[in-house]
């Protein structure tokens, strides 16, 4: 009786775990399947399978230039985000000073504030900066990258902070007693210890920037385009498996990046 109850409870829990997983995976599985359908109007049953929609991506100028822009912006934003976020995390994890815990919370804001609000804020900020300084901020690559860098910072702060808590400060003192000066200690011990966190932050930051739509909608230059915007525009006038193929490619890219990163640093330990 007691055992029955336990088994039943456990089955229910297992069931929910798989149900939750299915809930998440089903649409992704579906879009993948669809990308290989032969017919142009996606419907069941498939009339056959083809790879031509993947070919169609390359032929679409918007997808190609959008992909390049997104890639450039994401790389630049990730680098800037890391350059700001890593030192900030180091100081916040190691020092307690006036407002340090508040700062720690505030740095997470871009994860919490809705993208559209963040986009609006940066948009008006850049407009006003442009008006005030006369510099071409809005619609410039720099403005777009700056906006996207905001998305990278919270990931950096969280993941680097998490990996720092695993580092024994005594290890840094040990390095110094062994003859390493402060810079060498930082490079060989501190940075090495947070490397998994930095790698994971780069991955998640890159993905957050690459897939971002709201910020780009506001900040992108007229005539310029990012991949998410290209997908949105394409869907406005046409639904065919090309868009599924683009999605599949992105999922495959991100999945591949995660698997490779996971080999290198166990994501489950830092995320």
């Amino acid at each position: 009786m007691m055992l029955d109850g336990r088994i039943f409870g456990r089955m229910a829990l297992f069931g929910t775990a798989y149900l939750t997983l299915g809930f998440i995976l089903l649409p992704l599985f579906f879009v993948t399947w669809l990308a290989f359908f032969a017919q142009e109007i996606p419907s069941f049953p498939p009339e056959g399978y083809t790879l031509k929609w993947f070919g169609a991506i390359a032929d679409n100028r918007n997808f190609a230039t959008g992909f390049l822009t997104s890639l450039q912006v994401a790389i630049a934003a990730t680098l800037i985000g890391l350059a700001l976020g890593v030192p900030a995390s180091l100081i916040l994890a190691r020092q307690t000073f006036l407002g340090s815990s508040a700062i720690n919370q505030l740095l997470l804001l871009p994860i919490v504030v809705p993208g559209i609000v963040l986009g609006t804020s940066i948009y008006v900020f850049q407009i006003e900066t442009e008006i005030a300084t006369g510099l071409p901020v809005l619609g410039s690559m720099g403005g777009l990258v700056a906006g996207h860098a905001l998305l990278v910072i919270p990931w950096t702060v969280r993941l680097v902070t998490a990996s720092l808590t695993g580092l024994d400060r005594a290890a840094e003192e040990a390095a110094q007693s062994l003859g390493a000066d402060q810079w060498t200690t930082f490079r060989r011990v501190t940075l090495a210890a947070i490397r998994p966190g930095v790698v994971a932050a780069a991955l998640f930051g890159f993905v957050a920037s690459f897939g971002n739509l709201e910020m780009s909608l506001f900040l992108v230059a007229p005539g310029s385009i990012t991949l998410p915007i290209a997908i949105l525009q394409y869907l406005e006038w046409k639904i065919d498996p090309t868009v599924a193929a683009v999605s599949v490619l992105q999922i495959a890219l991100i999945g591949g990046a995660m698997i490779i990163t996971d080999r290198y640093v166990k994501l489950a330990r830092v995320v």
Binding site: S177, G179, A180
Partner: protein, 353 residues
């Protein structure tokens, strides 16, 4: 290796003095232990020697070299931490090689020295593992190898055994001591564990409240402690409160008249007795101080028995007897004769705090 000299070392944080006027000479090849309760300043003293805490006053010399103003990386001191402090992202061999790389040693020179250091701590063949793949005892031995590989002028050990379990602690203790003697390492160890201190040290420094209370051998500290704190902290003691009213004459608060060696103490005093110096049973009658009491509690500790004897309303003593087959073991409530020689009495002025 080299000697180590601390001269009137003092550390203040604002108004608080955590280390006051510590002067020490550690001889070349000597194993010195700083012993004291937590907060006594022993760790701060060690960290000043290592260079992590700048002293407020005083100076430090390693051999003939003044190091007071040198940063840690220029002191050539090997440091072993309670938490091992290994570099988690490096293999055992890379950990041990780190100090040699910092000294810009040639690759061809590093490898044999790493192998040699690992052999010393009996971890040959573990070079390719990562610290997390080792047990606590093995990790602490790697930390030791890493500190030894740089051929430090002094070896500093900061509670190196605290994180190990009891059995391992005993083992690593013997290993460190054997290695220290074999290599003639000038060593300073910090600990709060008196058994550890007693079994490992050549000489001990008892500290409390930032000051040195006594420096000496095990026997010095145990047989002739300079004050009540040392008597209490090193070894077990029974305390009897009372008064010295004439040279060599002590009257306890419970009214016992006891004979002790004449000394400088007068007035309010505390007598400290080592449990193993007391005798129980008929033999007690021959000793300078002897009286009847009733057994309050007997604790069986295998090789030892502790007999708690109540002498009167205020005074109670613990008698430790070896558990030999022929020994007389009293039962709770028994009336027994207890005694001790005058020479066993250590008398100190009463501390008022």
């Amino acid at each position: 290796m080299a000697s180590l000299t601390l001269d009137r070392l003092t550390k203040r944080y604002g108004d608080t003095t955590v280390v006051r006027d510590v002067s020490l000479d550690v001889r070349d090849g000597e194993f010195l232990v700083l012993l004291g309760p937590s907060g006594c300043g022993k760790t701060t003293t060690l960290r000043m020697i290592a260079g992590f805490v700048p002293p407020s006053e005083g100076s430090i010399r390693i051999g003939e070299r003044p190091v007071t103003d040198l940063p840690p990386w220029k002191r050539n001191a090997g440091l072993v931490f309670q938490s091992y402090a290994l570099f988690p992202h490096m293999t055992v061999a890379e950990n041990v090689a780190f100090g040699l790389e910092m000294r810009k040693a040639e690759k061809a020179e590093i490898e044999p020295r790493v192998r040699e250091a690992l052999r010393l701590v009996r971890l040959d063949g573990y070079g390719d593992r990562y610290p997390r793949q080792l047990s606590g005892g093995q990790q602490q031995r790697v930390a030791l190898a890493r500190a030894l590989a740089i051929r430090p002028d002094v070896l500093l050990l900061d509670e190196p055994l605290s994180n190990l379990d009891a059995k391992l602690r005993l083992e690593v203790r013997l290993e460190i001591r054997a290695l220290q003697q074999q290599l003639g390492l000038t060593t300073v160890m910090v600990t709060h564990d008196q058994e550890e201190a007693l079994t490992m040290a050549d000489r001990l420094v008892v500290m409390s409240d930032g000051e040195v209370r006594q420096i000496g051998s095990q026997a010095d500290l145990y047989e002739t402690p300079t004050d009540l704190f040392v008597a209490n902290f090193v070894g077990r003691s029974t305390m009897i409160a009372g008064t010295i009213y004439a040279p060599g004459a002590f009257r306890s608060e419970g009214g016992l008249e006891l004979t002790c060696p004449p000394g400088p103490v007068t007035g309010l005093a505390t007598m400290s007795l080592r449990p193993e110096r007391l005798t129980i049973g008929p033999d007690a009658a021959r000793l300078d101080n002897h009286m009847r009491g009733s057994v309050a509690f007997v604790s069986y500790l295998g090789g030892l028995l502790d007999v708690h004897v109540r002498l009167n309303d205020r005074d109670q003593v613990v008698v430790q007897i070896p558990n030999r087959g022929d020994v007389f073991v009293p039962a709770i409530g028994d009336q027994v004769e207890v005694g001790w020689p005058a020479a066993a009495c250590l008398v100190f002025p009463r501390e008022t705090n």
